[in-house]
Amino acid sequence: MDSENELGTVLSVTGLCTYFFTKKGIVKAVDNVSFDVRKGEIMCIVGESGSGKTVTALSLLRLVEHPGRIVEGKIMFDGKNLLDLTLREMRDIRGKKIAMIFQDPHSSLDPVFTIGEQIAEAMTAHKGITKGEAKARVYELLKLVDIPEPERRFHEYPHQFSGGMKQRVMIAMALSCKPLILIADEPTSSLDVTIQALILDMFIELRKKFNMAIIYITHDLWVIRYISDRVAVMYLGIIVESADKKEIFENPLHPYTQALLSSLPGKKGRILLKGEVPSPVNPPEGCRFHSRCPKRFDRCEKIEPEMKEVVSGHFVMCHLYS
Amino acid sequence: MKLTAYYWERTKRYRSAMAGLEFIVFLIILAAAGPFFTVSPTHVDFNEKNMPPPGFMLEQSMYNASSGGFVTTVQHGSWAHPLGTDGMGRDMLAMLISGARVSLLVGLLATGIAIIIGALIGITSAYFGGAMDSILMRATDIFMTFPFLLLLILIVYLFGSSLTLIILAIGLTGWTGTARLVRSETLSLRTREFIIASKALGASHLRIIFYHLLPNILSSIIVLATLSIPGAILAEAALSFIGLGDPQVASWGNILNAGQGSLQTAWWVTVEPGMMLFFTVLAFNFLGEGLRQAFEPGGD
């Protein structure tokens, strides 16, 4: 597998904390999250809704909106901490070196501008190329994402495109400046299953073509098994386990991961979790998962476990392994 | 009633809304009790014309009855007329209080008429739908397209300008907004489960409308009514200001109209009623806005 070759780290996140300061209290949406992304790999972040995976993705580009704020951490990219950059410098990263695709293609495109103009925008902003040059590039990009008749489609508006086609447009837009990292936040979850597979294939192909890393956010285990190289499992704002895909699927260590994977079809002994995900305003003390954990013991309620490398490259945050 | 208390608590959080409410209450008390403490607003005394409020003075020529000619005298303000007098020596305070009665009357009655007509048309339109809906909404559209003030002027031109007629005219022309609001709210409620359930239980149309529909759209109607009152007050004032108001009553618009001629000398005659008008309109707008925000779901 690609990721097993030592390819070097392209993005390194340490101790990232993103909190939302609401009237009801501080929501610790992302709390002390650390992970690395290696060159050219597809890394999946998986978790239930509300686990903080989207906020993590948005934090990487510093796109978290009020009342949310990144309060701590380091995001090292290209020798710089993204959190130290000025907004001006950050703009040179966004869309150019790190691009992002969002969940809902229907609302993610501006309804009053043509597809062509929206794709060309990032290029004209970052590369200072003329409109004519940009247009030729847009045609290429549209072909690349399998949109037929790019010359005609260029002048059309988002409402004239289907959901799958819109997501292709978003991908073309993200690729326009040949980024090193592509963040994809559940890009297929609002699409039909048949189209999902096509888009996933496209991600795999484009990753090779552009030699870029993809951070793929999803809650869909099927998708992870299909495209990921490495997986990080999030629960209530923290990463509880991370490892290569093979390792995660064959040897899940954290009880939460085990429960999650047991829901895959064909697995025996499904583990049902009790209760609801606790509120992130007042997360449980000790291990955050203890309130629903089938294997909990005394220590879990009091002391927060530390991240531990159990097998080489396989990290887990659980008292069972310390 | 618990719900009323809940919304009251939420409205109380908006300071501007509470200030508005306080001003309105003050105005109502003033309009109700004021006439018992002031002189008649129609009492004319040319010897006391253009008397400034206390602390100001004005030099003007006055007719002297004993010498039979005009002499220049200095008119000082007096506490007998705390807000001064107008060009005919009428007491400003008494006239302003009378104006408050007129404005409140117009604001409340005209809006009441407009709301009732609008609610009837809106509910009928949405509840029965089909051809009824098309005809009523087309009529509303046509009515809406017409400039409000021009319509009022035309009505007053054709039928004369008594206060009753003006109130009726403002009410009869101001219902379009309510009709549209009530219609759209009813349309969205009509397909909700509790309405369908009571229909299935065989409740009559009237029962459904009065027990289920109206209570649910009441909050929107209250907000709209509060925000419509300034429009009605301003319409009457504008009509009176251009000289088409009821000449029998002292309304703020009438006073402004009369005072416009003596702008060079007696500034208070135009400043005072305008201030009253401004603060009254502002008070209703603040209150309406506060109510709107308080009724908005999820405003916490």
Binding site: S107 | L149, Q260
Partner: protein, 259 residues
């Protein structure tokens, strides 16, 4: 006059269509001539006020939306509330009282002898434009602010930021263009109310001989055909602005254009 009513009505409509708008007994001239001499005064007042209000209202709206909940936003919100609530006829009188009577910067009455396209005329229209424009600025800035805020939370704005566009492009291009759709419609639909509401009274205050001033004189002179003519113009202008609003919306919103 002894013909049946429908026949009279038919004759009236057909003569209107032939350009015969009746005879004004108050001024002893054809109504058409009267309108021809007076409309331009209303037009210049409404045009200048609209430009003033649209430029200032949109700028204020954008500014307060971008600075949402800041001190400047709260102050602007207070003033726009005051602007909406202030009776413009009283505002007009107060402006005359302060700037004409006390300070003597302007004449108390509009001078019709000034050539229409001159700086003096523009200067003379300052107070009338302020009178009519203040309420408009307040209203427009509120429409623009709420439309901008509504669009700022949209997903496509996040997309634009993720592309690395400067904030000025994100707000000035993507948010603004989308916010303008409802705003332009509202501005258009308000227009006939402004011509025959605010402008009407502003003309009366400053003695500007526009359509409003003319029709009020006709009301007092019981000049029936003039009153009817102005009422008809009001209806016609309303329909016209409705049409313009539809056209503007169609031009700006691609989703409607293609349906």
């Amino acid at each position: 006059m002894d013909k049946p009513l429908y026949e009279q009505y038919f004759n009236y409509i057909s003569s209107l269509l032939h350009g015969d708008w009746g005879w004004s007994f108050g001024t002893s001239m054809p109504v058409m001539e009267l309108i021809k001499t007076h409309w331009v005064y209303s037009f210049q007042l409404v045009l200048l006020s609209s430009i003033f209000a649209i430029v200032l209202g949109i700028s204020l709206g954008i500014f307060t939306a971008v600075k949402k909940n800041s001190r400047a936003d709260h102050i602007a919100a207070f003033f726009s509330f005051a602007g909406i609530s202030i009776p413009h006829f009283w505002l007009g009188i107060m402006l005359i009282l302060i700037f004409s009577v006390r300070l003597g910067w302007f004449k108390t009455y509009y001078d019709t002898s000034l050539p229409m396209l001159s700086l003096e005329n523009l200067y003379a229209l300052t107070l009338p434009v302020l009178t009519l424009g203040t309420g408009m600025v307040a209203g427009y800035s509120r429409y623009v602010r709420s439309a901008m805020l509504e669009n700022m939370g949209k997903d496509f704005v996040r997309t634009a930021r993720a592309k690395g566009l400067p904030e000025s492009t994100v707000i000035g291009k993507h948010v603004f263009r989308n916010a303008m759709l409802p705003v332009i419609t509202i501005i258009m639909l308000d227009m006939s109310g402004i011509v025959f509401g605010g402008a009407y009274i502003t003309e009366v205050i400053f003695g500007i001989p526009g359509l409003g001033w003319m029709s009020l004189k006709a009301v007092f002179a019981d000049d029936y055909s003039v009153v009817m003519a102005v009422t008809l113009i009001g209806a016609f202008l309303t329909l016209l602005f409705n049409l313009l609003a539809d056209i503007a919306y169609t031009c700006l919103d691609p989703r409607i254009r293609y349906e």
